[in-house]
């Protein structure tokens, strides 16, 4: 394909777009601003700018075209099936976008007097009530900005509670299938990290867990359902063992979407869990954020939740923003983790989604998410190599045994899917199986879409078995750019235009 050359460099609807810095010109503008009145620069404290900023400028039509063309080089959920395991790429409702833009939510400042922000505080309270109701937990810290931030928040609360008890526990146990943020968050909290291997079932090895537990373990961080897409069926026993050792049980709630509306995590013995609103509650991922990671807490951990938090009194809703005031209410916050009050715009989107779904809709959503993943697992097991027997939860895990001796790698297989019009699954994660292919279809995909995907996967597997490895190595061929040289990018970093 690449040998077909046009004069312009464009290829029909596949339009090339230069960098902003190559199209912008000084003297142009995309914003008509009035001429500023003349003023002396003597109030600038001797800091007046000496040289012009040196940024290019686009007129509005050029900017619209630049970003529209860039967008066309992206694949989103709106474009097609996006079975990226552990990322929960499901439909983002448009009502949520519309509601987040209401002036009473979008155009209010976090430092307005609380009596002028009652609607915003009510939205925070309403979402917090839903999160508590859906998890059965008594408290929720709303300010974490993303999943990893929520993990860290939960661990900080645990550490504050342990220090209050006079216990200097120093280790955090993390299964080896965990997302990389788990050990990174534990390290940021000053903890040593100890890895717990999985058993042949893809679940926590209870004997290894028992052996690792001890009086210096602060907590176990467990993802449930785990990153192999499996429910930790011994979870109640795990919680008992952890608590018996005097430790806390942190659950990474990245996969809460599999059980939302069906399992209240309080009933499993969990002490703290963050909830990725951008996964379970369908707020857009935006090409890498913003997310939000509210963290539910047990009664024992609740007093240590970070500042600020919303309280209701006779004057209405207000924020507690200082430790001294929190102390008067019996709380002992471990600190502040973010500017202002949390990812409010994400809260509104999540709230609109939850109100739309309700308890019945969420109950159905987790069912359909699990059904779709099991459908893929059942229909693909003959052609691919499933790592663990079903049933799975919201995602299904395959490894690269089916590619043995074909000369095709997991990477090649994923890139071939791109040419077929699908976003690849998660590759090489979790690390507990070789050449992992982790597929999460989500509940918002129709049976027709899944059937198309299954047919393509089966066809590709047959092609690999038929010895057409070179075809895979050439993929993708129909994308704006083909495989990119990541080694060159890292060896000789070019991180900005000059």
């Amino acid at each position: 394909m690449s040998e077909i050359v046009t004069l312009s460099g464009h290829r029909g609807l596949a339009l090339e777009e230069p960098l902003l810095f190559e199209v912008g010109e000084p003297g142009r503008t995309g914003v008509d601003l009035p001429e500023p009145p003349p003023f002396d620069r003597d109030r600038l404290g001797g800091c007046a700018r000496r040289a012009p900023v040196g940024l290019p400028c686009l007129s509005e039509p050029q900017a619209v075209r630049h970003y529209t063309r860039l967008s066309q080089k992206n694949y989103g959920i709106d474009s097609g099936f996006y079975p990226l395991g552990s990322c929960t790429m499901k439909h983002n409702p448009r009502l949520s976008e519309k509601m987040a833009r209401l002036p009473g939510f979008a155009d209010i400042h976090p430092l307005q007097p609380p009596q002028t922000a009652q609607g915003a505080l009510a939205a925070i309270e309403a979402l917090a009530d839903w999160l508590k109701g859906l998890t059965g937990m008594p408290a929720v810290a709303m300010s974490p900005a993303a999943g990893a931030h929520g993990e860290w928040c939960g661990l900080m609360a645990i550490r504050a509670c342990l220090e209050d008890r006079g216990q200097a526990r120093r280790r955090v146990l993390v299964p080896d299938s965990a997302h990389g943020t788990n050990p990174a968050s534990a390290a940021m909290c000053g903890y040593g990290v100890e890895s717990i291997p999985a058993n042949a079932d893809g679940r926590v090895d209870l004997d290894r867990l028992k052996a690792a537990l001890g009086s210096d373990v602060a907590c176990l961080m467990l993802t449930n359902p785990n990153t192999c897409g499996l429910f930790e069926r011994d979870i109640v026993e795990i919680a008992r063992l952890v608590h018996e050792a005097g430790a806390f049980f942190y659950c990474d709630g990245a996969n809460f979407n599999a059980i939302v509306g069906r399992v209240r995590i309080a009933d499993l013995g969990i002490d703290a869990m963050h909830i990725n609103l951008h996964k379970t509650f369908s707020t857009p991922h935006g090409g890498g954020g913003p997310g939000a990671g509210p963290t539910v807490l047990s009664a024992e951990l609740a007093p240590y939740a970070p500042l600020p938090f919303v309280v209701r009194d006779e004057t209405g809703l207000r924020l507690v923003e200082h430790a001294a005031e929190a102390a008067r209410l019996g709380a002992k916050p471990f600190g502040r983790i973010k500017g202002f009050h949390g990812q409010f715009g994400v809260f509104v989107r999540a709230l609109a989604y939850i109100m739309s779904m309700g308890s019945d809709g969420l109950h159905q959503a987790s069912a359909d998410a699990v059904l779709n993943a099991n459908y893929l697992l059942a229909r693909l097991s003959a052609d691919l190599s499933a790592s663990f027997p079903g049933p799975c939860m919201h995602e299904c895990l395959f490894d690269d045994r089916f590619l043995k001796d074909t000369g095709v790698t997991t990477l090649d297989f994923a890139k071939a899917l791109i040419d077929e019009g699908f976003h690849p699954m998660t590759m090489y994660f979790p690390l507990v199986v070789h050449g992992a292919l982790l597929m999460e279809p989500t509940e918002t995909e129709s049976r027709e879409t899944l059937d198309q995907f299954i047919a393509v996967i089966q066809g590709l597997a047959a092609k690999a078995r038929a010895g057409q490895a070179e075809d895979f190595r050439q993929a993708p061929r129909f994308t704006p750019r083909r495989r990119l040289d990541e080694t060159l990018a890292a060896r000789n970093p070019v991180l900005r235009w000059r």
Partner: protein
């Protein structure tokens, strides 16, 4: 349910293909005592119209900034956002994409991030910027941690002119790192002696520019003094618009520049999501937190972009990563980048000048009413003193009752400093009209008893 495509027939057929009789069979690994076969006892789902009606009623209980004379800043600012910004953000290919792990289908996000990184580096005067952090406060905490790694030292000095949230988040984040945090007292007059605190074990000094109370100071002497003892100078920005008018921190010797990018392209949204800016020198790039987009070539030799230097990051390095950050603020970075592309360098300079002129005009009106302005220098935000014994918080509440959102009382951040009770922080932007300023000056003078 409108977001779920399956019909009952689909579900039956699919359960059959899986080989189970009922959906509950797929949840058999869940302990029976913890499994709800029926929906929880919470409100049921509703249609768009009903949800929209409820949320509109809820939103109507707040007073939007656009409906009032509005002078609140203190870390977040109300600027005009060109209509094209939000329209472009809603392109589904941007809005509904994940972090660009598959570069062949993510060149849009990746090129945008490369452009964003360049824009941030250019306006801050730094060499390299990352693809965003959560917000200004968390970016500040990451800078402190990075300074400790770079210098292999553990003393961090926080200026009294640093936003209190930035200071508190930094203190919390470094609580268990072994570092010592020295936070200086609030400094509305800009007279603190930060240089006197620098020692041979100082990792960094963190100052805000312009300061939390609005004041400006030449950063060069601070940078020189830091470098003399082997420490880094970290500069926090609350409003990047001002950089159209004042020297960029990079030109004055800053080693790390962090900031809140909300002013460009991102609305107030009750304080989140924001956009953490993070820029530094090339020589420190491998100690940076967060994602980085880099330029490379594809197998056909064509220029393209990838996420790079990921050996710093949690998904590769796990507990040895430079940060635990994963999801960041990609879509907010896009908003910032579009707004800045529409402004260009000349537009940013003009916008900053309009902001400064608005603040000068506000100051003149307040002085005419006999109100004392504390900040000797500023871009678009300054502190005023409402008179001995005055309670700025009570006055602001009375203004709010009159429909005026008139600044932030310093006591909201510093309840333990009685001498700050009469102090009010006021911000002016290009959105303020002369009528707004007259309304504020008049009402403030009345309520402050002048």
């Amino acid at each position: 349910m409108r977001y779920l495509p399956h019909t009952e027939a689909d579900r039956r057929a699919m359960l059959g293909a899986v080989g189970v009789g009922h959906i509950d069979d797929l949840f058999r690994d869940v302990p029976a005592a913890s499994y709800a076969a029926r929906p929880l006892d919470l409100p049921p789902g509703r249609g768009e119209m009903a949800v929209e009606r409820d949320l509109r009623r809820m939103a109507a209980r707040s007073l939007p900034a656009g409906d009032a004379p509005f002078f609140i800043g203190a870390g977040l600012y109300r600027h005009h956002i060109p209509a094209a910004v939000d329209q472009l953000l809603l392109r589904g290919e941007f809005l509904t994409a994940y972090t660009p792990y598959q570069p062949e289908v993510s060149q849009g996000t990746l090129q945008m991030l490369f452009e964003f990184q360049t824009q941030v580096a250019l306006i801050t005067g730094m060499e390299v910027a990352n693809a965003s952090m959560y917000d200004g406060a968390t970016a500040c905490a990451e800078a402190a941690a990075m300074a400790c790694r770079v210098t292999r030292r553990g003393r961090v000095i926080l200026s009294g002119n640093l936003h209190p949230h930035y200071a508190q988040v930094t203190e919390t984040a470094l609580k268990h790192s072994g570092a010592t945090i020295e936070a200086l007292a609030p400094d509305p007059m800009g007279i603190e002696d930060a240089l006197g605190r620098l020692m041979s074990d100082t990792a960094c000094l963190i100052v805000q520019y312009p300061g939390f109370f609005g004041g400006l100071r030449d950063l060069k002497p601070l940078a020189d003094a830091c470098h003399e003892v082997g420490a880094l100078l970290v500069v926090a920005l609350a409003d990047p618009v001002g950089l159209g008018l004042i020297e960029p921190p990079g030109a004055m010797g800053a080693d790390i520049v962090v900031g809140e990018g909300q002013s460009l392209g991102i609305g107030l949204s009750y304080g989140g999501p924001g956009l953490g800016l993070f820029a530094t020198r090339d020589k420190f790039v491998r100690q940076m937190p967060g994602r980085l987009a880099g330029q490379t070539v594809d197998v056909d030799g064509r220029t393209g972009y990838v996420l790079t230097l990921s050996t710093r990051e949690q998904h590769i390095r796990r507990e040895k990563a430079t940060s635990n950050i994963c999801t960041n603020s990609g879509l907010c970075a896009l908003a910032f980048s579009i707004h800045l592309a529409l402004l260009g360098g000349d537009g940013l300079a003009r916008l900053a000048a309009l902001n400064h002129a608005a603040a000068l005009a506000l100051e003149a009106r307040l002085r005419a009413k006999g109100i004392r302005v504390l900040s000797p220098s500023y871009v678009n935000e300054f502190a005023v003193h409402l008179g001995d014994g005055a309670d700025a918080a009570a006055i602001i509440d009375r203004l709010a009752a009159r429909g005026i959102l008139g600044g932030v009382p310093a006591s909201r951040f510093y309840p333990d400093y009685p001498e700050l009770r009469p102090v009010l922080i006021l911000a002016a932007t290009e959105t303020n009209t002369e009528e707004d300023m007259d309304a504020l000056a008049g009402a403030l003078a009345e309520e402050a008893g002048r």
